[in-house]
C-alpha cells in the first residue's frame, strides 16, 4: 500500500478564515456605502448605475442575482422617498429596471410593479416604454398591454390609445372576458359613443350572467334600448 503523508506537518494555512473575514468586511462596507450614499446625497437623489451597466454584456451565470440586486435597489430607492412631501424622483429607475429584465427576462416583479413606480414618478412615457420593452420579451403576455392601457388611461388620459391597448390585451390568450368592458369603458370616457355602443353590444351578445347585465346597463346609460 502506498502511503503518502499529508504535507506541511502541523502547519496550517489560514487563508479560509481570512477570506471569510474579508468577505464579511466587504459586505459590511458595501452596506455602509449604500447607507452613506443615501445620507450624503439624500433619498431623492437619482438612482445611478455604474459598473452594473456592464453586466448586460458580461454574462457570468449570476444574471438572476444581479437582476434581484437591481430590483432591491429600486425598492430601497423608492421606499426611502415614501412618506416625504417631496415628489418621487425616479431618475435612473427605468434604466435599472430595463437592465434587470434584460438580465432576467422571466423576473415578473420589476415588470408588474416597476412600470407603476415609474409612472408614479411623473414619467408615464417612461413607464410605457418600459412595458414595451417587456412586451418585446413576452409578446404573448396579455397583462403587459393591459398595464400599458391603464397607464394611458390613468396618467395620460388618452382614452383612444387605452382602448386600443385594452382591445389588444383582450385578443391575447389567457385574457379574461372582462377586459373588453375596459375597451368599451374607454370609448365611453373618450366620448366615442358609436364605438362604445358597438363594443357594449358585442359584450352583450357574447356573454351571459354578470357581464351581460353590465353591458345592458351601460347601453341604457348611452341611450340604447335593451330588452330585459
Amino acid at each position: 500500500m502506498v502511503s503518502v503523508h499529508p504535507p506541511g506537518g502541523t502547519r496550517r494555512s489560514r487563508w479560509v478564515p481570512e477570506l471569510a473575514i474579508v468577505s464579511a468586511l466587504m459586505m459590511l462596507q458595501a452596506a455602509l456605502v449604500g447607507h452613506v450614499h443615501v445620507v450624503v446625497r439624500g433619498p431623492h437623489a437619482p438612482l445611478s448605475l455604474g459598473l452594473e451597466l456592464a453586466w448586460r454584456h458580461v454574462p457570468t451565470g449570476f444574471q438572476n442575482l444581479l437582476a434581484d440586486t437591481l430590483w432591491l435597489r429600486v425598492l430601497q430607492h423608492v421606499g426611502g422617498q415614501l412618506g416625504r412631501d417631496e415628489p418621487l424622483n425616479v431618475t435612473g429607475v427605468k434604466q435599472a429596471l430595463d437592465l434587470a429584465i434584460d438580465l432576467d427576462p422571466a423576473f415578473h416583479a420589476p415588470v408588474e410593479y416597476g412600470a407603476w413606480i415609474i409612472a408614479d414618478g411623473h414619467d408615464p412615457a417612461g413607464a410605457l416604454d418600459f412595458l414595451a420593452h417587456a412586451r418585446r420579451q413576452h409578446p404573448d403576455d396579455w397583462l403587459l398591454p393591459y398595464h400599458q392601457a391603464f397607464i394611458e388611461f390613468l396618467y395620460r388620459k388618452r382614452y383612444d390609445d387605452a382602448a386600443r391597448l385594452f382591445s389588444l390585451a383582450a385578443s391575447m390568450p389567457g385574457a379574461p372576458p372582462r377586459v373588453m368592458n375596459m375597451v368599451a369603458g374607454m370609448y365611453t370616457k373618450g366620448k366615442l359613443k358609436d364605438k362604445a355602443i358597438e363594443t357594449w353590444w358585442g359584450i352583450h351578445q357574447a356573454n351571459r350572467g354578470p357581464l351581460r347585465a353590465i353591458a345592458a346597463r351601460n347601453l341604457r346609460v348611452l341611450g340604447v334600448a335593451v330588452p330585459d
Binding site: 506541511g8 496550517r12 487563508w15 479560509v16 478564515p17 454584456h57 457570468t60 449570476f62 430590483w71
Partner: protein, 252 residues
C-alpha cells in the same frame, strides 16, 4: 490506481485541514440570513430571490475554492519539498496530478452536496423542496470539476497567483464564448478564424448554466445534462493529462 487514491485522500485531508469547510458556514449564514432579510427588503418573489442568492453563493464559493486551492495544490508540494518524498515512492507524476485533481473534486462535491442540503432545508420553510435542485447541483459540480482541472493544469507550469488569475479569466470567458463568436463575425477574416478557433479550444462553461432558468421554473433537460457531463469529463481529463505531461517534463 492505488497511488492515485492515496494522493486523492491525502489531498482531501490537506484541503479540509485548511478549514475549507468553513465555507459551508459562510454559505449557511448567507442563505439563512438572506431568506430572513428578503421578507423585509422585498414584497414579492422572496423565494426566487432566496434561491438566486443561494445558487449564486454555491457557485461563487465553489469557484473560489477551485481558484485558490486548485492553484496551490502542486505548488505547495514543490515549495515545501514534500514532492520529493512523494515521488521517491512508487507514484508517477501523472498519478500525483490525478490524485490532486480527484482530491479537490471530492472536496468540491462534498461542499456542493452539503450546501444543497442546507438549501433544501431553507426551501422547506420557503414554499417546499423542488428535488430537481439536485440536477442543478450536479451541473454546478461538473462546472467546478472543469475549473479544478484548469487550475491543476495552471499550477503545473506557473505560480498560484497567475493560475488563479488565468482560471478566473477562463471562467468569465467560458461563460461568454457566444459573445466572443458574435464579435468574431464582425472581424476581418484572419482575426475571425483565429477567434473562432480559440472558441473551439476554450472551455464552454455556459453549457453548465441551468440555475437561472431552473429558478424561473424551466425544467432541466436530462439529455443536455448528459452531454454536459461527458464534455466536462473529457475536457477535465485532457487538462489533467496535459498537466501530468508538463510535470513529467519539469525539472527541479
Amino acid at each position: 490506481m492505488r497511488a492515485v487514491v492515496a494522493v486523492a485522500i491525502n489531498t482531501w485531508r490537506e484541503v479540509v485541514r485548511d478549514r475549507v469547510l468553513l465555507l459551508l458556514l459562510v454559505f449557511a449564514g448567507v442563505v439563512v440570513g438572506s431568506s430572513g432579510l428578503m421578507a423585509t427588503l422585498t414584497f414579492s418573489e422572496e423565494r426566487k430571490i432566496v434561491l438566486d442568492v443561494a445558487l449564486a453563493s454555491m457557485e461563487g464559493l465553489g469557484v473560489l475554492l477551485a481558484l485558490f486551492v486548485g492553484g496551490q495544490l502542486l505548488v505547495k508540494e514543490i515549495d515545501r519539498r514534500t514532492l520529493y518524498v512523494v515521488l521517491s515512492k512508487p507514484v508517477s507524476r501523472l498519478s500525483l496530478v490525478w490524485g490532486k485533481f480527484l482530491g479537490l473534486v471530492m472536496v468540491q462535491s462534498f461542499l456542493v452536496a452539503a450546501m444543497t442540503g442546507v438549501l433544501g432545508g431553507v426551501m422547506v420553510f420557503t414554499g417546499g423542496v423542488r428535488f430537481s435542485v439536485l440536477g442543478v447541483s450536479c451541473m454546478l459540480v461538473l462546472q467546478l470539476v472543469l475549473l479544478a482541472a484548469l487550475s491543476v493544469l495552471g499550477s503545473a507550469f506557473t505560480s498560484p497567483l497567475v493560475t488563479s488569475a488565468l482560471t478566473a479569466i477562463l471562467y468569465v470567458v467560458g461563460h461568454n464564448l457566444e459573445t466572443l463568436r458574435m464579435l468574431a463575425r464582425k472581424m476581418v477574416p484572419v482575426a475571425r478564424l483565429s477567434v473562432e478557433a480559440l472558441c473551439r479550444v476554450l472551455p464552454d462553461l455556459s453549457v453548465f448554466e441551468v440555475k437561472n432558468a431552473w429558478v424561473n421554473g424551466v425544467p432541466l433537460a436530462v439529455d443536455g445534462m448528459v452531454v454536459a457531463g461527458g464534455y466536462a469529463m473529457a475536457y477535465a481529463a485532457m487538462c489533467v493529462c496535459l498537466a501530468g505531461w508538463l510535470l513529467e517534463r519539469r525539472e527541479w
